[in-house]
Structure formats: structure tokens, C-alpha cells
Amino acid sequence: MKILIVDDFSTMRRIIKNLLRDLGFNNTVEADDGLTALPILQAGGIDFLVTDWNMPGMQGIDLLKTVRADEKLSSLPVLMVTAETKREQIITAAQAGVNGYIVKPFTAATLKEKIDKIFERIEAQQ
């Protein structure tokens, strides 16, 4: 399982990377915004995407929409981890096809719960 972590703050990428490692996901790659994330996604091999919303360059919501519009990437599970807490934003992310939405600051337990839930749903669909 290879996971791409997208956040403009290196500290947050590091925190998420460490938390994922504790959950048994050792294979992670990082990008600092949507524009640098896209080539990594398009190169293939990424099984799960964790992205922030508010980033310079391409924002997380636009990355999500681009992923859903891309034939090869459209079914990639996407978890949004963000400080954006407006209702319109959460609804927009849901409509754009996000698989999970975590608000910062978050706990390791929340991250585990949301990831487990996403995989449960994927397994149920298969």
C-alpha cells in the first residue's frame, strides 16, 4: 500500500507520515501541493491519497476534482485532512467525491478510524 501525503507544511506531512507508520503503512511519498502531487499520481503506483485543502499552487479541492476526472485515477481513495471547517466546503468536498474528511487538529485515533472506514467501504463494494 503506497500512500501519497499532500500538504504545504512539512511538519504536517511529517506528523501524518509518522501516524501512518504507526498504523502499519510504511510506504509513503510526499508532495507540497496539488501541482507537484499530480505528476506523482499520474506516474502510477499510488493506492491512497491524503491531502490538505489550503495550499499554494493547486488546492486540495481542485486536486480531488482533477483526480475524479482522470480516467486512470478516478477510483483512487482520497482522504482530506484540513483546517477548513465551513459547511459549504465539506459539502463541496463530498459532492466532488471525497472518501473521508478530517479537520485539524486531529488525533491518531480519528485518522485510524477514517482510514479503516474507507477500506471497509471499498471492500464492501468489491
Binding site: A83, R87, I90
Partner: protein, 245 residues
């Protein structure tokens, strides 16, 4: 022109026409003088008003100077302060994370060895242990106990470093307070400037402003007072489940 002036002028004009028709030169000259006089007093009134406005505008120039000063000196300084906050908090977070990375393996090693010795000790108490196994367990205990001391010392030192790294909150908190004060000063000056110079524009501009409801805003500072904002993960989950998630 005020109504009293208008009445006086109308009366003077009528009297002037009457005097001219009657061929009374003296009377017509005096009525003409009265007419111009009222017009002049209106002119003086207007000039007085303009002078007062000019005086106020000149006074407000002092205000503009403070704004110019804020823009030229304090603003670049504030940018530096805020960059300092980003840099300092980033360093502190990395420092803390590095010490966590160094500490977790120490705790894991202590736990794993303790579990191993515990299992051996249990077998010893159940009299399931051979003499060779007992000697091997004794050696393990002998090397484990000093390692508990050294690992604990190292864990203690790492935790102290993590605690020290939290000092960034004090430093950045002070800088942010300074920035808040400056922002308040700029806001006060701008409000006063708008009051004196842009009363009529104020309303039009507000009407034309369009709001992007999903524009990224970062952490909400006052989320408890905003019903359009969720307060925690539970509210996010509730909202998403109401959408069929």
C-alpha cells in the same frame, strides 16, 4: 441660497424694475446694490464652507502621514515578524518530532526485553527451566537492568528537550501580540480615513463584493460564533452522514 435671501432678492428685483420704469435712478441704483449684496453673502457663505473643508482636509493629512509611516516601516516589519512565527513554529515542530523519533525505539526496546525476561521468569517459577536456560536468563537480567537506567536517562533527556522546544509558543505569542496591536492601529486609521474621504463610496463597494463560499480560509479563529462553520470532527461526520456518507 436660503429662502430669506430669495425673498429679499425677489423684492429687490421687483423694486428695481419699478424704479427703472419710473425713471428713478437713485432708487434703481440702491435696489441693484441690494441685489448684489445678497448674492455676495451667498458667495461668502460658500467660500467659508470650502475653507472649513480645506482646514479639515489638512488636519486629516496628519492622519495620512501616520498611515504612510505604517505602510513604509511597520508593514515590512510585520511581514518579517510573521515569517519569524512560521519559521520558529516549524523548527519547534521538527525538533519535537525528531526527539519523538529518537525516544520511541528506546521505549520499544525496554518493553520487548522486559517481555522476554518476564516469560523466562514465569517458566523459572513453574520449574520448567533447565540450569543452562537459567544461566542465560541471569545474563539477560544482568545486562537489562543497567540498560533500563541508561535508556530511562536518555528518555528523560529527550523529553526535556521536547519540553524546551515548546518555548516557541512564548516567543511567537509575543510577536503575534505585537502584530495584533499594529493591525488594530492600521484598522483605526483606515476607518477614520474612510469616514472623512469615502462616505458615498462605502455603500457601493459593499454591494458589488462577491463571496466565494468555499474559498480556503485556514483555521477558523472564531468558529463558535459562526453557524456556518463546524466545531469538531463529530459535526463533520454528522454533516457528511446527512449527505448519505
Amino acid at each position: 441660497m436660503n429662502p430669506t435671501n430669495e425673498a429679499i432678492q425677489l423684492e429687490a428685483a421687483r423694486a428695481l424694475v419699478n424704479a427703472l420704469e419710473a425713471g428713478d435712478k437713485e432708487e434703481s441704483a440702491s435696489q441693484l446694490a441690494l441685489l448684489t449684496q445678497t448674492q455676495e453673502s451667498d458667495l461668502f457663505h460658500q467660500v467659508g464652507k470650502l475653507t472649513r473643508e480645506l482646514h479639515e482636509a489638512l488636519n486629516n493629512f496628519n492622519l495620512d502621514n501616520r498611515l504612510a509611516d505604517l505602510t513604509a516601516n511597520d508593514m515590512p516589519n510585520t511581514r518579517e515578524r510573521l515569517n519569524y512565527v512560521i519559521r520558529t513554529t516549524e523548527e519547534a515542530a521538527h525538533k519535537t518530532l525528531s526527539y519523538i523519533d529518537k525516544t520511541l525505539p528506546l521505549a520499544s526496546e525496554l518493553k520487548q526485553t522486559a517481555e522476554k525476561i518476564n516469560a523466562s521468569w514465569h517458566r523459572f517459577r513453574m520449574r520448567e527451566m533447565t540450569a543452562d536456560e537459567f544461566r542465560s536468563m541471569s545474563k539477560e537480567i544482568e545486562s537489562y537492568l543497567p540498560s533500563v537506567t541508561s535508556h530511562s536517562d536518555q528518555i528523560h533527556a529527550n523529553l526535556s528537550e521536547m519540553m524546551l522546544a515548546q518555548g516557541f509558543q512564548d516567543l511567537t505569542g509575543q510577536v503575534i501580540s505585537q502584530v495584533i496591536n499594529l493591525v488594530e492601529e492600521v484598522e483605526d486609521n483606515l476607518v477614520r480615513l474612510i469616514k472623512v474621504s469615502g462616505k458615498q463610496k462605502e455603500h457601493n463597494n459593499n454591494a458589488n463584493k462577491t463571496v466565494d463560499p468555499i474559498k480556503a480560509e485556514g483555521p477558523q479563529i472564531n468558529q463558535e460564533n459562526n453557524i456556518n462553520v463546524v466545531n469538531n470532527q463529530d459535526e463533520v461526520d454528522d454533516l457528511l452522514s446527512s449527505l448519505g456518507f
